[in-house]
């Protein structure tokens, strides 16, 4: 006996594998297409998940970096998590808490007007912060003063992106003077590297915190609560202990005394912020992710791959009859079972390799659309993303094994004699329980997914079209920028009202009427009551413009000087206070500062959803406060929105030449709130459709094989008088029963997941019987269309052909 040479054997396997695949090219194609599509969907999801899991991983020593977070008990609101803190905390914490080796405070602003030379720009991602930000976040400075870039007041550090935008290069930007938020004398001390896209904080312009302290002295107060605070702990520090010490520090300094109790402090790992901070109400977070969504995507990815592998397994088993003779011959000639297992596994490896190449091609093709849908920039990188490349190899091996092992062991089990004589029993036929079970599993998954998608889509549509309690149609907002907003607002209102097509004009803190902040108000009564409210600064025209009814009392009247101390509550605030007669009630103070107003309730408005319908309406309090206005709201009555905007812009440019004209549409703003939901729905729908298509592809192949197996039987039946319809029914009935069983199993599961999904909405639809029926119908229709072609061909074929070959 010669020493075995595996290389020769494998070469033989490869040769016969390629020839077999070519010989049965239609099944090879079905397998490759099904697997390619499945792997492509899997890879897209992997890239997406990898992106979201990679957030902030570029920060050095991230394992010891934490964000200080508060749990507040907000009167009338309940427990809320807030990632803002008092101004003095960061510095004091480093001084007195040994576990904290470094800290940085940050106040993030949205769009800020910046003037470079004579040109006005709107700069996003602006943060007031300290020099320590570079150490803590590991931000490299590309040019300029690296050690003291932010220590002096009115110092600015800009990103490379901003430097190129304003000055053409980093070098040109150094020591340039800019006008920041209408204030002269800000100097660019350094240029920093751009933040990667996967960072929870985007920083394009950093301004020295000293300047903020000068402009906003309340930030020095322990009762302020506007700053993101990040702390670095020593390697041996226990976060819980450090958090307790921070809490003690706040207590010692009587911080946030307006709260009834607490707050309770905990430290959130910065690496967790992107996916695990959805519960935090107030925070600086560039692109909040959702861990539940990641889990859902992982499940979908696995489902799609499993469905594709099931196709492979089913087709391989169904085709095994054709391979029986070859197995018999090889065994007769001395092949062991292991030889045969390797041979068939080899075929699986080759098909999977083709599928992998096809999948990479599909991913490249679909990435632009995918990226656009999700507003990210994913790409395939082999060298730069070694994890992805290694992952590809692992996917190749795992899928080859997953798909190939069972068929390999199944086929290699054939007894030589039976195989040679062609007397293989069932097991190789589709009637085998495993094949049926796999088809049922595939279609169960598909039906459950359809069900969930239908319910979710209905919910999103409900959310988008629900009456929000105010009328935002044909409403646009023009933003006010710094300077004397009260004066600017008055001028603009007067000017805009004169334009044609304009129905109403109003000034407010924001287009939804509320500012981003919360205040605590204390009732001036014998019984002390505190309430945490959203503050809204609106003029006398706002509620009418937005069609928000005043259900008790009256609206603001700017002619009444006493209305400077008037307050209008929403119904949620009145309910939280438990009042039956709110009109005339007085509040003791705002934020316990007696030097401020003592507002009196003059009216109550009907509740409206000033934020997204995901959350319940919270108590809100509105006041006249022209210094707090941030936007002019305009309701127009023409269909030509473009002309309206042009008219507004012209008026703006006349009044404020050189200042940037920033406008938003109320409708678009709302749509943006639900864009994430809509994108998620689109994505899930896409993957559900893929899962169904892959299942249908498998069913198509199986039907073809099954028809081949039953060809003789059908011919005999036809000779004996069976009609075309009866023959078609014979074949289709076998598969449709499986889909019906799949439906019975899938609908309860789908219902369970759909119900769980609906729980995250404050206002949700009810799941209906029709949702289930439509899902089942969609799956049955898919199956019928898939099976029909083969069934029809078999039913009309000439019976003589099959019987003559017998």
């Amino acid at each position: 006996m010669h020493a075995k040479k595996p290389y020769t054997m494998y070469r033989n396997y490869l040769k016969i594998a390629f020839r077999n695949l070519y010989k049965q090219y239609s099944y090879t194609l079905i397998n490759v297409i099904g697997l390619s599509t499945g792997i492509a969907a899997f890879l897209l999801i992997v890239l997406y998940i990898q992106f979201h899991l990679s957030f902030d991983k570029h920060i050095p020593e991230i394992e010891s970096l934490y964000r200080v977070t508060q749990i507040q008990q907000a009167e009338g609101v309940g427990e809320q998590h807030v990632a803002f803190n008092p101004g003095p905390l960061a510095d004091e914490a480093v001084k007195v808490i040994p576990e904290i080796t470094d800290a940085v405070r940050m106040m993030a602003w949205g769009a800020v007007p910046v003037r470079v030379d004579d040109n006005y720009h709107t700069q996003d991602n602006v943060i007031w912060t300290d020099q320590s930000v570079f150490r803590i976040f590991g931000i490299a400075l590309l040019a300029g003063d690296t050690t003291n870039a932010l220590t002096e007041p009115k110092s600015v550090v800009i990103s490379l992106k901003a430097a190129k935008k304003y000055f053409g290069s980093a070098e040109n930007a150094l020591n340039q003077q800019i006008v920041f938020n209408y204030e002269n004398g800000y100097t660019i001390r350094a240029v920093m590297e751009d933040q990667p896209e996967n960072a929870h904080l985007q920083m394009d312009m950093l301004v020295s915190f000293e300047s903020a302290l000068t402009k906003y002295p309340f930030l020095k107060d322990w009762n302020s609560n506007s700053l993101g605070v990040y702390v670095k702990l020593s390697p041996t520090a226990i976060p819980g202990e450090a958090a307790e010490k921070i809490q003690n520090l706040l207590t010692e300094n009587k911080a946030l005394s307006s709260l009834t109790s607490g707050p309770e402090i905990y430290l959130q790992e910065v690496s967790d912020i992107h996916l695990h901070a959805g519960h935090i109400k107030f925070q600086n977070n560039y692109a909040q992710g959702d861990f539940n969504l990641i889990i859902a995507f992982i499940i979908i990815a696995l489902i799609i791959i499993i469905i594709a592998c099931i196709n492979f397994i089913n087709l391989a088993i169904a085709r095994s009859v054709k391979r029986a003779k070859e197995v018999g011959v090889r065994k007769t000639l001395g092949a062991s079972r292991l030889n045969l297992v390797y041979q068939f596994l080899g075929e699986s490896i080759i098909i999977t390799l083709f599928a992998l190449i096809g999948a990479l091609f599909l991913v490249e093709l679909s990435l632009p659309e995918f990226n656009q849908l999700l507003d990210i920039q994913l790409k395939i990188q082999f060298l730069e993303n070694p994890l992805f490349s290694v992952g590809l190899l692992i996917i190749w091996l795992v899928i080859s094994l997953l798909s190939g092992v069972y068929p390999a062991f199944f086929i290699s089990r054939f007894q030589a004699i039976e195989a040679l004589k062609g007397t293989r029993e069932s097991g190789s036929k589709f009637g085998g329980w495993l094949s049926k079970a796999l088809v049922i599993f595939q279609f169960s998954v598909a039906i459950a997914l359809i069900f969930i998608i239908i319910v979710t889509s209905r919910q999103i549509q409900f959310v988008i079209h629900k009456d929000l309690g105010y009328n935002y149609n044909n409403v646009v907002g023009v933003k006010l920028h710094g300077g004397n907003v009260a004066e600017d607002a008055a001028l603009l209102k007067q000017e805009f009202k004169r334009l044609s097509g304009i129905k109403q004009v109003s000034a407010a803190s924001n287009i939804n009427g509320v500012a981003g902040s919360q205040f605590t108000i204390t009732v001036d009564d014998t019984v002390t009551q505190k309430l945490m409210v959203r503050a809204g600064y609106v003029d006398e025209d706002f509620f009418a413009l937005m069609d928000i009814p005043i259900i008790e009392g009256r609206n603001f009247n700017e002619d009444y000087s006493s209305d400077d101390e008037a307050i209008i509550l929403n119904q949620a605030a009145v309910e939280a206070l438990g009042w039956t007669n709110p009109i005339g009630k007085k509040f003791k103070s705002f934020d316990d500062n007696d030097s401020l107003q003592k507002p009196t309730v003059i009216g109550v408005i009907s509740d409206y959803h000033y934020y997204s319908i995901h959350s319940r309406i919270e108590p809100a309090a509105y006041m006249l406060n022209p210094d707090g206005y941030g936007i002019i709201c305009i309701k127009y009555q023409t269909n030509d929105a473009k002309s309206v905007i042009e008219g507004l812009e012209n008026s703006w440019n006349t009044l404020f030449p050189g200042k940037p004209f920033d406008w938003i549409s109320a409708e678009e703003r709302l749509e943006r709130q639900y864009r994430n939901d809509q994108n998620s729905i689109r994505l899930f729908t896409l993957f559900t459709v893929l899962a169904i298509l892959i299942s249908a592809l498998g069913l198509y192949g199986l039907t073809a094989l099954r028809v081949e197996q039953r060809n003789r039987e059908i011919s005999i039946r036809k000779v004996l008088g069976g009609s075309v319809f009866q023959m078609m029914n014979l074949i289709m009935h076998e598969f449709l029963i499986l889909v019906a069983i799949a439906g019975a199993l899938a609908l309860p599961v789908g219902y369970m997941f759909a119900r769980q999904m609906l729980q995250q909405f404050a206002y949700a639809i009810k799941i209906s019987v029709f949702d289930g029926l439509i899902s089942l119908f969609a799956a049955l229709l898919t199956a019928i269309i898939t099976v029909f072609i083969h069934a029809y061909r078999a039913a009309i074929s000439n019976p003589v052909n099959a019987l003559k070959n017998d």
Partner: protein, 228 residues
């Protein structure tokens, strides 16, 4: 070389028990050419499968090359088979996806023979069988006779001690059938033991001994030629 003692084979299903072989005993010496004949269903193929180590008997003993093999495992049978037994089937049983050369080469691959040596041996045998000119063709491109010559080539490539032929001319016309029988005869003349199952009296004439089976039992043994 082969000794069968009270070989029995019973096939059982849930409801039916069929005795295909009923205590069959015989011996076959090295170099013999034996034909096994009988009507359909008499147990010829069952006997051939047991002799070819493709199946185990239900009872009795089977000695192959002086070793008792009736209770061997599949692996042991496969090893014995590939080193000592060549098969020729009625329907050729060539692998359609392999060329003539590759079909004949297959047993040598399973024996682990190096590629150079393999190539030499295959070419020799193909020449011997006068089919070398079709070595790159696939079985479906050959006539029945040519396919059976390839099958014979494959059966002898490993120089087995025993060749088992199951109705080797069953799917061939008389001319090609005669060709194949002459091949087998030549092999036997060179010392290869041949056991052939056949319906054909004409084919049986090539054998030195004919064993007749009926209902799973030997009813007759006829020595046709003098071995000495």
């Amino acid at each position: 070389m082969i000794k069968a003692e009270k070989l029995t084979k019973v096939f059982r299903t849930d409801e039916v028990e069929t005795t295909a072989l009923n205590e069959v005993s015989f011996s076959i010496h090295k170099g013999e050419f034996v034909a096994i004949m009988g009507p359909s269903g008499c147990g010829k193929s069952t006997l051939l499968n047991i002799l070819g180590l493709l199946d185990n008997p239900t009872g009795g003993s089977y000695y192959f090359l002086d070793k008792e093999v009736s209770k061997s495992t599949e692996r042991q049978r496969a090893n014995l088979r590939k080193e000592n037994i060549g098969f020729v089937f009625q329907n050729f049983n060539l692998i359609d996806e392999l060329t003539v050369f590759e079909n004949v080469e297959l047993p040598l691959i399973y024996l682990g023979m190096p590629s150079k040596e393999r190539r030499k041996r295959v070419n020799e045998v193909l020449e011997q069988m006068q089919i070398a000119h079709r070595s790159k063709h696939f079985p479906l491109q050959l006539s029945g006779g040519q396919q059976q010559r390839v099958a014979v080539a494959r059966a002898v490539i490993a120089k087995p001690a025993l060749i088992l032929a199951d109705e080797p001319t069953g799917n061939l016309d008389s001319a090609h059938g005669e060709e194949v029988m002459n091949l087998l005869n030549d092999l036997n003349a060179n010392g290869t033991t041949i056991i052939m199952v056949t319906h054909s009296q004409r084919d049986a004439e090539y054998a030195q001994r004919v064993i007749r089976l009926f209902d799973g039992q030997i009813i007759n043994e006829n020595i046709k030629k003098n071995l000495l």
